[in-house]
Subunit: 245 residues, 2 copies
DNA sequence: CCAAAAGTGTTCTCTATACACCCATGA
DNA sequence: TCATGGGTGTATAGAGAACACTTTTGG
């Protein structure tokens, strides 16, 4: 027997992925398309986050994990619940109402939003059954429901979080160059960083481990590859209480 | 006509208040008491957070504001939505079930938790209709539902937040001494701070404004009073992107 | 005059920041 | 040999951290 879904509580997932070659931070979105049964006029044609309604017997984290597994086939990804959205008007736009008519849920639904960080290389979208597609977070397509503001709030949270926790490495391949990390910070934060200073800073961290390996297949001086050791990071982690107000 | 409440979605409020004389960070809790109708055995006798179910036509923030207004009579307080709790077992403890029987809501309820910061001096609990009482966050009484873990997570969030935003002043009287601020940080973070260094640091902030006033009614050298200027703070606020991983 | 807490300076170390050129490689 | 991005060093300024004694007041 399938467990019962709760019709007014959902989880939405903002999936962030970083494209190392294009140096863009992207969000994974799925297509929403509906045309009129009578005159085949396009009624809904936009994108939304992936999300599911919470089941009676599930935790919120379970629902989020299930949604990601469905969408990408992956589990064990970095995940963060960052905010609940419960404005009574959040699903009341005309096209959203049309869409909901075809679905089995309440138009007064509150959603608990999560964001996920994934290595884009880890998934292949060519045969994705939801028509999932990456969009740069700075140039999003038309979005349904209140999903644009959900994405923007997730992004704000990510910006703050990546300054104090080593979550950036969730977005990079296991082997990366120092400049990859710098580019990623620059993409996320929209700032420029001095390469020499950044380099020194990173190389001095014990949990940034140089490999006996260099880039291959590049038409220039191949860069040194590094990996991030979560183990070392956690062992040397020392909470500091620096008050900076 | 009264608006309809949603029976499976609630908001719970962790109200933090700081007692300047006892130097304790406290949480405001309300009594939950129920005895058997037949043999007057005590069935439920503990404390819970204040909370309400969300109304159909309300935002989550509205519900939180309404709950605080009911409890304290105050509005315009510092408020932060910090996490949603949706474990299917969160209300299934025996005494919680007994309690719920007398109430009109679903035992599969998810709650969106907020915390509030208030100046304890601003409220008078003597004539509080909910029997609200302050408890030190480090020595909480027996709590109903999953409210202990909600409080602990709120506290963790507060610890982090107070390091980077000037929210500490929400917990202090408008006029305070430098040592008041230090004591408060020490209470919240559970650390010791060097008075000379802390003092210098704070006095150098332009938004910490010395008043032409000293403590009165103290049996020792009266200390200089200061105020916090949110205006000045916001004008000089400059986002810095210091990466500290 | 005593108890209690307020208030005060200096030194050292570490980190952030600014800044410009040579190097190694594949094509 | 050239285009491309990789990689390198130094100097300065500012902030954090460690540390102990004197001052002021009310009682």
């Amino acid at each position: 027997m399938e467990s019962q879904k709760i019709k007014n509580i959902s989880v939405d997932c903002v999936v962030f992925g970083y494209n190392t070659t294009e140096k863009t931070l992207n969000v994974l979105l799925i297509k929403r398309y509906l045309e009129s049964a009578t005159d085949s006029k396009i009624l809904v044609n936009d994108y939304v986050l992936t999300g599911y309604h919470v089941n009676e017997d599930e935790t919120l984290d379970d629902t989020a994990t299930r949604a990601l597994k469905e969408l990408t086939g992956l589990s064990g990804l970095y995940k963060k619940q960052f905010k609940a959205f419960g404005n009574p008007n959040r699903l009341l736009d005309k096209k959203d109402q049309l869409w909901i008519k075809n679905e089995d849920f309440n138009s007064r639904t509150i959603t608990v939003a999560y964001y996920f960080l994934i290595k884009t290389e880890a998934i292949n979208l060519n045969e994705n059954k939801y028509n999932a597609k990456w969009f740069p977070v700075n140039s999003l397509p038309e979005l349904g429901f209140d999903h644009e503001s959900i994405i923007l709030e997730a992004y704000e949270d990510l910006k703050i979080k990546c300054l104090s926790e080593p979550i950036i490495f969730e977005l990079l391949p296991n082997k990366f160059t120092i400049n990859d990390v710098q580019d990623l910070y620059e993409s996320i934060l929209g700032i420029e960083i001095d390469n020499r200073n950044f380099r020194r800073k990173l190389i001095n961290k014990k949990y940034i481990i140089p490999l006996d390996e260099k880039q291959v297949g590049v038409s220039k001086k191949p860069a040194q590859l590094y990996m991030f050791s979560k183990d070392v990071y956690e062992k040397m982690f020392k909470k500091n209480y620096l008050i900076s107000i």
